[in-house]
C-alpha cells in the first residue's frame, strides 16, 4: 500500500540549502513526514496483501482491515456493484492500452523493499532531479527509499502542529482516522459532492479507496497555516485510490496544498483519486496542487495514469472555491477540478498550468456549474506542449436557468515547443439564462525563436531560456500559488522541460 499521510506546512526555519534566496523560499518542500510513514522502513509492518483482483470479498477485506463502520462497508459495496455495470470511458483525447482491473492488488501493506543504505546507492538521475528541486536530504532519502532515522523527529513536530490546529477546533487527519473518530461527519459529507455514481473511476475509488485526508474547519475559523498533504505511490503494482474530503463551515477559510511525487517505475500505475470540497456560507477554500507523478521515461515507458475526480460545491451564499493546479507529471493526466456554484454570489476559480513533454498526454480543464444567482467563475488555463506530447484543455461552463447574472471569464492559452507536439482546446458552453455574461479567450502560440535568441544573446543557454519564457507565460497561475509552492512549481517546469530542445 502507499504511504500516504498528512502534514502541516511547517513555518519554522530549516537548515537545508539556500538555493532560492529568502528564508521563506527555503521551505520549498515538505520536511515533515506523516504518521504512518514508518511503515515503509520498519520491519514490524503488516505484510498482508488482499488476493489479487477485485470482488466483494476484496472490499470486505479492506473494510474489515480498516475496522470501518457498517455504513461505510455498505457504501463501498454499493459503489462496487454500480461500478461493475459501468464501462470505462474513452472520450478523452488520450490513448493507453486497456487496464486489467483484476490484475492489481487493492490492498497491500507495503512490502519491505530492499533498503538502501545511503544516497550513493540511489539512481544518479533521480538524485540529480532531487537536487534541482532543492528537496531536503531527508526527504530525498525518503523518496528514494533510503532509511531515515530523522523521520521520527518530524513526527513529533507534526504532532505539535496538530495540537495547534486542535486549539482552533480544526480537524486534519488521515481519512481512516476520521472514519474512526468522526464517523458522523464522514457519513454526512462522503459522496455528497462526487457520488459514487458520478463516473467510472469515482465509482472504483469509492469501492476500494485506501486512505486519504480529511479536513474540517469549524464555523468562523481561519485556518492559521497552510495544510498540506503529500501523496505518494510507493508500492509497485498497487493502484492508488485516495480520497480527500474538506469541509469549511460558515465563514471558515483554509488553504490546502497537495503535492505529488512518485518514484520511477517501468510499469504504469493507476491513480484514481477523489477530492470533495464543501464550502458553506461565506467560507473560502483554496486548493493548490503541484502534481509531479512519474511521467514515464523519454520513450514513453512507465508513468502514472492520473485519473482524478475533483469537485467542490459552494453550498451557500458568498462561498468561494479556487483550484490552482500545476501539472507536470504523469504519463496520462485526466482531470477536471470543478465547482458547483449553488449558493447565490458564490465564486469559483480555476488556475491551471499543464505541461507535457516526451510522450505525456494531458486532458484537463474544469467545469463551472452556475446554479445560484450572481455567481462568478474565472478560468485561466496555460497548456504547454513539448516533445511528442498531447495537451488538451477541456472545459464546461454551464449556466442554469435560475442563475441570473452569472458571469464567467475563461482564458485558455496553449504554447507549443517544437513541432511534434499537439495542443487542443475543447470549450463547452451550456447557457440557459439570457442574463449570463460569458467571455472566452483562447490563444495558441509557438515559443518564439526571437525570444530565445534574445535571451541567448544575454548569455542564457537555450534550455534556461525556454524555462524562463515558459515560467513567464505561466506567471498568472503561479501568482495564485503559495510562495513556497510557486518556487517548487517553477523548478519543476524547468526540469520537466529538459530535453525538449533541439
Amino acid at each position: 500500500m502507499s504511504t500516504e499521510n498528512d502534514t502541516v506546512k511547517t513555518p519554522q526555519k530549516s537548515d537545508y540549502d539556500d538555493k532560492f534566496g529568502s528564508a521563506e523560499q527555503q521551505e520549498t518542500i515538505e520536511k515533515l513526514t506523516q504518521s504512518d510513514y514508518k511503515w515503509g522502513f520498519t520491519t514490524d509492518i503488516e505484510t498482508e496483501v488482499a488476493p489479487k483482483g477485485l470482488n466483494e470479498d476484496t472490499i470486505r477485506f479492506i473494510s474489515a482491515k480498516k475496522k470501518e463502520p457498517e455504513f461505510l462497508l455498505e457504501w463501498r459495496l454499493k459503489a462496487f456493484r454500480y461500478w461493475q455495470k459501468m464501462q470505462e470511458p474513452h472520450w478523452p483525447n488520450v490513448n493507453y492500452p486497456p487496464i486489467d482491473y483484476q490484475d492489481a492488488y487493492y490492498y497491500a501493506a507495503p512490502k519491505p523493499k530492499k533498503e538502501l543504505k545511503s544516497m550513493d546507492e540511489v539512481d544518479p538521475q533521480l538524485r540529480e532531479t532531487f537536487e534541482k528541486l532543492g528537496i531536503p536530504l531527508d526527504e530525498q532519502k525518503r523518496l528514494a527509499g533510503v532509511a531515515v532515522d530523522a523521520v521520527m523527529d518530524s513526527v513529533s513536530v507534526a504532532t505539535t502542529f496538530k495540537k495547534e490546529l486542535a486549539k482552533h477546533g480544526i480537524i486534519f487527519c488521515s481519512f481512516s482516522d476520521a472514519v474512526q473518530n468522526h464517523p458522523d461527519l464522514i457519513e454526512k459529507y462522503l459522496g455528497s459532492v462526487v457520488p459514487y455514481t458520478d463516473n467510472f473511476f469515482a465509482a472504483l475509488n469509492s469501492a476500494v479507496f485506501s486512505d486519504g485526508s480529511f479536513c474540517y474547519i469549524p464555523k468562523g475559523v481561519r485556518c492559521p497555516m497552510e495544510l498540506s498533504t503529500y501523496f505518494r505511490i510507493n508500492a509497485a503494482n498497487t493502484g492508488q485510490f485516495e480520497r480527500t474530503l474538506i469541509v469549511a463551515e460558515e465563514g471558515a477559510y483554509v488553504s490546502y496544498l497537495e503535492g505529488c511525487t512518485a518514484p520511477m517505475r517501468d510499469e504504469n500505475q493507476l491513480h484514481a483519486a477523489v477530492v470533495e470540497i464543501i464550502a458553506h456560507k461565506d467560507a473560502e477554500v483554496k486548493y493548490s496542487t503541484v502534481q509531479n507523478w512519474y511521467p514515464g521515461d523519454k520513450n514513453g515507458v512507465g508513468g502514472i495514469y492520473n485519473f482524478v475526480t475533483k469537485r467542490g460545491i459552494c453550498l451557500e451564499e458568498n462561498a468561494k472555491i479556487s483550484w490552482t493546479q500545476v501539472e507536470t507529471g504523469s504519463a496520462i493526466t485526466w482531470k477536471y477540478p470543478s465547482v458547483i456554484l449553488k449558493g447565490d454570489n458564490s465564486i469559483g476559480e480555476f488556475y491551471s498550468v499543464a505541461l507535457t513533454n516526451n510522450y505525456q498526454q494531458a486532458d484537463t480543464g474544469t467545469k463551472m456549474i452556475h446554479l445560484g444567482k450572481n455567481t462568478r467563475s474565472t478560468i485561466i488555463s496555460k497548456g504547454i506542449s513539448a516533445g511528442k506530447s498531447q495537451n488538451s484543455y477541456r472545459g464546461l461552463v454551464r449556466v442554469s436557468k435560475n442563475a441570473d447574472n452569472a458571469r464567467n471569464f475563461s482564458q485558455c492559452d496553449s504554447l507549443l515547443i517544437g513541432d511534434k507536439c499537439g495542443a487542443h482546446t475543447f470549450p463547452y458552453l451550456e447557457i440557459s439564462n439570457t442574463t449570463a455574461k460569458v467571455e472566452h479567450e483562447a490563444t495558441t502560440s509557438k515559443i518564439g525563436e526571437d525570444q530565445i535568441f534574445y535571451l541567448n544573446q544575454r548569455g542564457i543557454d537555450t534550455e534556461d531560456a525556454i524555462g524562463m519564457i515558459v515560467n513567464g507565460y505561466c506567471k498568472e497561475v503561479f501568482m495564485e500559488l503559495p510562495m513556497e509552492f510557486a518556487v517548487e512549481a517553477r523548478n519543476l517546469l524547468a526540469i520537466s522541460l529538459e530535453g525538449s530542445v533541439g
Binding site: G21, F453, Y454, L455, R458, G459, D461, M468, C474, K475
Partner: protein
C-alpha cells in the same frame, strides 16, 4: 579584438552581405551607416550568432577565437553584446530576474562568484541611475508594454549591467527623444574604456556628436564602400548616399 575578413551572408538563398571586411581594436568606436536594407542589422545579428543567417564565406576572429564557431550564448559570455534594433518582449519575466540570470551566467563563465538577489539589486539600481531610468522598470516584464524609447533605453541598461567587451548598438538612437539620446550616449561614454569597443549602427549623424567615433563606415548593398573619420558622417548627412553608392568595396 575583432577581425572580419570577406564575410558573405545569405538569408533564404539571397546574399545580403557580399564580402565585408572590418578590423576593430580595443578602445575604438566604429560607426556603421548606410541606406535601409543595406545589411546593417544582418551584420550585427551575424556577429551575435543568429541562426537564420547563413555564413557562406569569410572568417571572423574575436579575441583570437573563431567567432562563427561559437553558440550565441558563448559569444555573449565572452563579452559580445547586441543592443537590438527591435528589442523582444518576454511577458511574465521581470527585467531584474532576466538580468540577474544573464549576469550570473556570464560570471559563472568567467569563474566569478554568483551575485545574490541583494547584491544584484544594488548593482542594477546603480546602472538604472546611470541611464536615468526609473527603478520600477526592474520589476516590470522585459520590454512588455514598454514604449519604443523605453525599450531602447532598456538595452543600454542591460549593456551597463553586463559590461561587454564588444558592444554592437543597432540603431539604438532611433525612437529616442533628444534628452534620452543624450542620456544613452552618456551611458555609452561612461562605459567606454581602453579595453572595450563599440560598433554603432545609426542613420543619424546627430548621435555621433555625442558618441564620437574613431571610424565611420558606409555599408551599401552588403559591402563597405567608404570608410573615414567622423567627418564622413557629416558629409553623408549633407549629401546622402548617392555619391558613395557606386564605389567599390573597401577594406576597412
Amino acid at each position: 579584438m575583432l577581425s572580419i575578413k570577406n564575410l558573405h551572408v545569405s538569408v533564404e538563398d539571397t546574399e545580403i552581405l557580399k564580402g565585408v571586411n572590418l578590423e576593430v581594436k580595443p578602445g575604438e568606436i566604429h560607426a556603421i551607416m548606410g541606406p535601409n536594407g543595406s545589411g546593417k542589422s544582418t551584420f550585427a545579428n551575424v556577429l551575435a550568432g543568429r541562426e537564420e543567417y547563413e555564413v557562406t564565406d569569410g572568417e571572423v576572429t574575436y579575441l583570437g577565437q573563431d567567432l562563427l564557431d561559437m553558440a550565441p550564448e558563448e559569444r555573449a559570455r565572452e563579452g559580445v553584446f547586441l543592443a537590438f534594433q527591435y528589442p523582444v518582449e518576454i511577458p511574465g519575466v521581470s527585467t531584474s530576474h532576466f538580468m540577474k540570470t544573464a549576469l550570473n551566467a556570464i560570471r559563472e563563465h568567467r569563474g566569478e562568484e554568483q551575485l545574490d538577489a541583494m547584491q544584484f539589486l544594488k548593482l542594477a539600481r546603480e546602472k538604472m541611475q546611470l541611464i536615468e531610468m526609473d527603478e520600477k522598470f526592474l520589476h516590470r516584464s522585459v520590454n512588455d508594454g514598454f514604449s519604443g524609447g523605453e525599450k531602447k533605453r532598456n538595452e543600454i541598461f542591460q549593456m551597463a549591467v553586463l559590461e561587454p567587451k564588444l558592444a554592437i548598438l543597432d540603431e539604438t538612437d532611433s525612437g529616442l527623444d533628444i534628452d534620452a539620446l543624450r542620456i544613452v550616449a552618456n551611458g555609452v561614454n561612461k562605459l567606454r574604456s581602453s579595453d572595450n569597443a563599440f560598433i554603432v549602427v545609426t542613420h543619424y549623424q546627430r548621435l555621433l556628436n555625442y558618441i564620437v567615433p574613431d571610424y565611420v563606415h558606409v555599408l551599401v548593398d552588403g559591402r563597405i564602400v567608404e570608410s573615414g573619420d567622423k567627418n564622413l558622417a557629416l558629409r553623408l548627412e549633407e549629401q546622402g548616399y548617392d555619391w558613395v553608392k557606386d564605389n567599390d568595396a573597401v577594406t576597412a
